[in-house]
Symmetry: C2
Subunit: 422 residues, 2 copies
């Protein structure tokens, strides 16, 4: 008998009819002979509505109480889904994150999973029930308070549960068909990726891809849980995220996809004295302001001045805070000035194949040059190349890279270009 | 330092503004130097709305899941109230019934309190916090599932918590000013009762008074918790429900109040053979149909026929079921016919004083006769006399009894009758 975990997001359970359709899909999976565990988000905009209510009684709700409030949303959808499944003749039980054994840190609003002890889930499965787990929540190990777990939490919980229950795989149901070689809204010729490795998905998530959260993919990779990302509105196969070993040579493209990130800003510390410790001082300060630094570029110092410029990128929302922290450092470090630019975009090409294929950087940079996109910063990993460009040129750059690496769908291409493919 | 328990019903916390007003009242109580524990219902019509949602996904929701769903309502209002209190500068923590240590039977939808172990509440009070407990719910002792506790549950929980925490008293905030000598909508001259004994309140609740639930009053009496029933929309003193010993002679009226119940029906089994065991058979059958019998009247058998009529009253909602069960008994018992009458009302006068004052029945029955009300059945306890009359004459009967026992408010009377009082 197989064992699978399904996860359904808010748009998949937006109203009673959606819930009934999801129930039918779950029952079909159970009928096929599987143990089924479901992680479910709150219906539609419930979480936002509860936040609104909170703001009406208090401009600064205490974090513990906010978690008590918001977790009601998932509880409601989990109970309703269990009812809908029972109505189709199958037994189902809903569980809060706490009842399901999701143990977390005590950081309200952004708790991390410490452990999952799914005793009651195993019991329910043993009795032949479908187990429905309220997503987004757990219980704090030390205080025993209910916690919520921040962005991507339900996906992460689903994968973590799949690992703890030794499920065969985890299906993440969402409102897109799967992972694409580029954002289809920018590149109509983007293709759905049938299979992708954990490492590539990690890079794509880290570099701007929104479908699966970074933490979720990390968990999947650590515990080797195959993840199937697919649409809850159709029966189509989605994208499988798996161990790289599962990919055949045929499937292992040089470049799997192109992603963009419009949420970064660039800070340049101009004219930093080339003395040991100066760069460290700068980054200590920014870290102290609780910001995550992404790309860093430091050029060799100019011989004449013995000064250098250091540029780095960070989330746009942290920009103001980092600038204030650095401004206070001016006398101590002795730099000349600070520049702030939030009109940037980051484009990344990701692919395990680039390890064994030289020339990927060259092809990437040429493609950008050919469409007049200037590269401001470059950063690489073993399987990813990222560049920072002018924000207004992001779409052009993504499209150019996609075509350059032969990712365009031939049919779409033919329609767009009037030819029979490349 | 005093210790009090407040309970607020759904209409008292109907929206964000109501919640903020309730928060102010609680903070005022805390400022006065008290430990404060609050039991709170779901906001406004939330419970009904959640029931609607449930019916949309399933015509017959499994009881366990219905409890998981409905308890979200109280969770939401408890968290919001805690936020509102924090916004006024006082610390508050919300707790589910389970977290508050409300241990119940496992009968979903109608669980009973087995015990209350309020360890976390004591801890919160010890830290100077206001403790907010989600009403209507507990945790089943054996299954550890969340349960809801049926009608009057939040009032009962509040009183039970007050008992377990050895609170000085329990205040039940509602949308009326207190307990009245009669329903003010029927008798404009009804007066608010300042103090009433547990026993009288029990009788009034059992005989149709809606403000406090029977179970709640039973709990208060068993554990000697003074209960203050008052309006959440004003600062006026309400009605204190206390041990009879607390009432002075002055306060101990002969009759405390008149109540009516329009929810009963009368069944008459006509011509029952006067043999031992026949009455038992009839009542066994009705009990087997899970109905609660209220009043029973059996006349002596007619000498000529050696048969008797047995009449009893029961909740109108159980009428059809009881009639079916009795119909199946016809041959076995050999009665002549069954009569069903749901056009009845039950009027009760309640007062500890009647123990020591003869003539109360006579005064009651005369008052009814004077206004042309025929009495169909009579039933009494030490401190209560109930009669069954035609449903259309209930208001007339209540008014007549109220006046006959000198309960009319003199000012109102003067306005109505143009005199200076009796």
């Amino acid at each position: 008998m197989g064992r699978v975990v399904h996860k359904y997001g808010g748009s998949s359970v937006a109203d009673a009819d959606c819930i009934k359709r999801v129930a039918q899909r779950i029952v079909a999976t159970k009928k096929a002979g599987n143990d089924v565990v479901v992680v479910i988000s709150a219906m539609g905009d419930t979480t936002d509505e509860l936040m609104d209510l909170a703001k009406q009684v208090s401009p600064l709700p205490p974090p513990r109480e906010l978690d008590m409030l918001l977790t009601s949303g998932e509880r409601i959808s989990a109970a309703l889904l269990a009812m809908a499944i029972a109505n189709l003749g199958y037994e189902a039980r809903s569980f809060t994150g706490s009842q399901a054994g999701v143990i977390t840190t005590s950081r309200h609003g952004n708790a991390r999973i410490i452990d999952i002890t799914p005793g009651r889930i195993e019991e329910a499965l043993g009795e032949g029930h479908v187990a429905i787990v309220a997503g987004f929540q757990g219980v704090a190990q030390d205080t025993k308070d209910i916690t919520t777990m921040g962005r991507g939490a339900s996906d992460t919980t689903a994968v973590a549960l799949a690992a703890a229950l030794e499920a065969d795989y985890c299906e993440i149901y969402t409102d897109v068909d799967g992972i694409f070689t580029a954002d289809p809204r920018i590149v109509p010729a983007a293709k759905q990726i049938p299979k992708i490795s954990y490492e590539e998905m990690l890079e794509m998530a880290a570099c701007g891809a929104k479908v699966l959260h970074l933490r979720c993919v990390e968990y999947a990779r650590r515990y080797n849980v195959p993840v199937h990302v697919r649409s809850s509105f159709s029966q189509k196969e989605g994208t499988w995220v798996v161990d790289a070993k599962e990919l055949t040579d045929m499937e292992q493209a040089i470049i799997s996809g192109v992603v963009q990130d419009r949420n970064e800003a660039k800070i340049t510390v101009v004219g930093v004295p080339d003395k040991p410790g100066e760069a460290a001082r700068i980054f200590e300060t920014v870290a102290g302001a609780e910001t995550n630094i992404d790309m860093i570029v430091q050029n060799v110092s100019a011989v004449a001045t013995n000064r250098t410029d250091i540029s780095f990128t960070l989330p746009r929302v942290d920009g103001a805070r980092a600038m204030s922290a650095l401004a206070r450092l001016k006398d101590e470090v002795g730099y000349e000035s600070l520049l702030y630019d939030d009109q940037i975009g980051k484009i990344s090409v990701v692919g395990v194949g680039m390890r064994s294929h030289p020339g990927v950087s060259a092809k990437f940079f040429s493609a950008l040059a050919e469409v007049g996109v200037n590269i401001e910063m470059i950063s690489t990993s073993e399987i990813r190349i990222s560049v920072v460009v002018d924000e207004n040129l992001v779409d052009v750059a993504v499209t150019a890279a996609h075509t350059a690496f032969d990712l365009d769908d031939e049919h779409t291409q033919a329609v767009v270009y009037g030819g029979t493919g490349r």
